[in-house]
């Protein structure tokens, strides 16, 4: 099975994010990390590839930088990566991102596409569905369990009231939640091998897009202002001396809930 896993390099979430005053976009350092939610998609891909003698290709649209985040995913065991990196892509909206990723996936060939449900930094949360529509495949989304056999993929899909079991013939797209599997940690051997794995870099033009179709020029939206939302007023922080619960009781009485 040929499996494409969509991954994203993001600024380390442990560091404060900065918005550029000119473009209103998140400032992206040279060293970006693999979005933690993507580790789950990579793991699902690796498990399905192991069971089917298949391959896992990482697909990403981002400034490459040091490629640290991509190498993290290669070190887990993915076979190769294809990065679309091109200055004209800066400021692309979700739909352009999906068009670029879908074109890349189509170029590589696929039976199954796997993505997280949303990125940690941007979280529009509809890129997987847009990719599925462009590729004309079923979208099995919000998966909390995944199985594939005999050309059929079957998932447990989170719903408002519980879950549904949903299945579709390949080719198909999956979006996976962070509860779906326990992602493996890269081994030393994996980290060493990752340094030698192929990373192809494409431009938007390689995929047939002109510069006015992508990036800021191709986005159907423009940011007009950004403002800080006032933080809540700081409250009282007390060390528990064994009677801290009494402070809570007093506040609950004040709030008239007891």
């Amino acid at each position: 099975m040929r499996i494409a896993v969509c991954v994203k390099q993001i600024p380390d979430p442990a560091t404060p994010y900065e918005l550029s005053p000119d473009t209103h976009r998140v400032v992206r350092p040279n060293d970006q990390v693999l979005d933690d939610t993507d580790r789950f998609g990579v793991e699902v891909g690796l498990q399905l590839a192991d069971a089917s003698e298949g391959s896992v290709t990482l697909v990403s649209m981002s400034p490459s930088g040091s490629l640290q985040g991509i190498r993290q995913a290669l070190a887990m065991g993915a076979d190769k990566a294809v990065i679309v990196d091109d200055a004209s892509l800066a400021g692309s909206d979700a739909l352009t991102t999906s068009r670029i990723l879908a074109a890349t996936i189509e170029r590589e060939g696929f039976d199954l596409v796997i993505a997280g449900t949303e990125s940690t930094d941007g979280y529009t949360g509809v890129v997987p569905q847009q990719i599925a529509e462009i590729l004309d495949v079923p979208s099995l989304t919000f998966a909390r369990k995944v199985e594939a056999a005999d050309g059929v993929v079957r998932i447990e899909q989170q719903t408002a009231g519980g879950y549904d079991v949903v299945e579709a013939p390949l080719p198909a797209l999956l979006s996976v939640t962070s509860g779906v599997v326990e992602p493996r940690y890269p081994t030393f051997k994996g980290i060493m091998q990752a340094k030698k794995k192929p990373i192809d870099t494409l431009t938007a033009e390689d995929l047939g897009f002109s510069s006015d179709q992508v990036g800021e020029a191709g986005a159907g939206q423009t940011i007009t202002s950004v403002s800080s939302i006032p933080a809540r007023e700081a409250g009282e922080i007390v060390e528990d001396d064994g009677e801290g619960y009494l402070r809570i009781v007093a506040l609950l009485e004040q709030a008239k809930v007891i």
Binding site: R144, Q221, G242
Partner: protein, 315 residues
């Protein structure tokens, strides 16, 4: 300005997000709904009561409806000239709206907390964990497709009568529509509704394990509170996903929110930061949850919670 609202039938009712979005849409102009599901009388009446003048209803069968719903909606939008389509941020809303966007070649804006009709249509979104408000204008062709966070608008019934209901057939979309729902599982829910409760008791990874989750349940029972959880707790499988509060879960605004063993990741704060009074119990004094807490107790929740529960029992 022609505004449409997406609605999915859930257990016989119109989705909560649809009623919130209709309450906004009817202030813009005549509001039309695209509704998928069995089309129960109750659901249609709820949509009418919240201001829907017309409901296009697409019945669903065992197929996963997202691709067919997007195709049907795309056709209707072409026929009726729609300026703005409002979706909630539920899973089905994202499935249908995302596909619709790609099908029509129109951009989306998500995480909206406010929408103004301009022209151009302009959307206020909260980003970076709700610390920054971004205002964006749509610049391309209509319709503008917007995903709105829950509780951005209050659902308020109006004196609307029965809407006109127009049946829409489920189109054949070929292989995109090939997914089939083979089983449906409803997980039992007890206690008050998380999104409507006056008090929420939420637990995070700091609770320490599934076997200790009863400390959260016992306190919630004493306060007649709904139980909430962080994504880490849901992903660990201690509680079902419908209890998740935050970016990918529910947005709550109770009078009192008690967070126990919750570190306060951005993705969680976004779902609860507008609560009335926030009380946090965490052993890590550096936990970001303390930055939004009205009262923070730095200590062991396994000591504080049982004492609190016992004290409330005595009242």
């Amino acid at each position: 300005m022609t505004t449409w609202v997406f609605s999915e039938e859930i257990e016989g009712h119109a989705s909560a997000s649809a009623l919130e979005l209709l309450s906004k849409a009817r202030t813009i102009g005549e509001a039309t709904v695209f509704h998928i599901g069995s089309g129960s009388e109750v659901a249609i009446a709820e949509l009418g009561a919240h201001g829907a003048a017309r409901v296009f209803h697409m019945p669903t069968d065992a197929h996963l409806p997202s691709a067919a719903a997007a195709a049907a909606l795309a056709t209707l939008v072409g026929e009726h000239g729609v300026d703005l389509i409002l979706f909630g941020m539920n899973n089905t809303d994202r499935d249908v709206g995302g596909r619709l966007s790609a099908r029509l070649g129109r951009p989306v804006l998500g995480n909206a907390v406010d929408v103004s009709t301009g022209p151009p249509v302009s959307v206020t979104s909260e980003i970076l964990g709700g610390t920054e408000a971004v205002v964006s204008d749509f610049t391309g062709d209509t319709p503008a497709i917007v995903f709105v966070r829950s509780k951005a608008f209050a659902a308020e019934p109006t004196e609307g009568g029965s809407p006109e209901v127009v049946a829409v057939a489920m189109p054949d979309v070929g292989r995109s529509g090939a997914a089939v729902v083979v089983e449906t599982h409803v997980e039992a829910s007890e206690g008050p509704d998380l999104e409507a409760a006056a008090v929420v008791v939420a637990g995070g990874r700091g609770v320490g394990g599934e076997e200790k989750w009863s400390e959260i349940e016992d306190l919630a029972a004493q306060l007649d509170a709904a139980i909430g959880a962080t994504r880490a707790v849901v992903d660990a499988g201690w509680v079902p996903a419908r209890l998740q509060v935050g970016q990918t879960g529910k947005t709550v605004k109770p009078g009192v929110y008690i967070a126990a063993g919750v570190s306060g990741a951005m993705q969680h704060l976004v779902g609860m930061k507008d609560s009335g009074t926030i009380i946090a119990v965490n052993k890590d004094v550096e936990a970001p949850i303390f930055a939004v807490a009205d009262l923070g107790i730095v200590g062991d929740l396994h000591s504080v919670l049982p004492k609190l529960t016992a004290a409330l029992e005595d009242k």
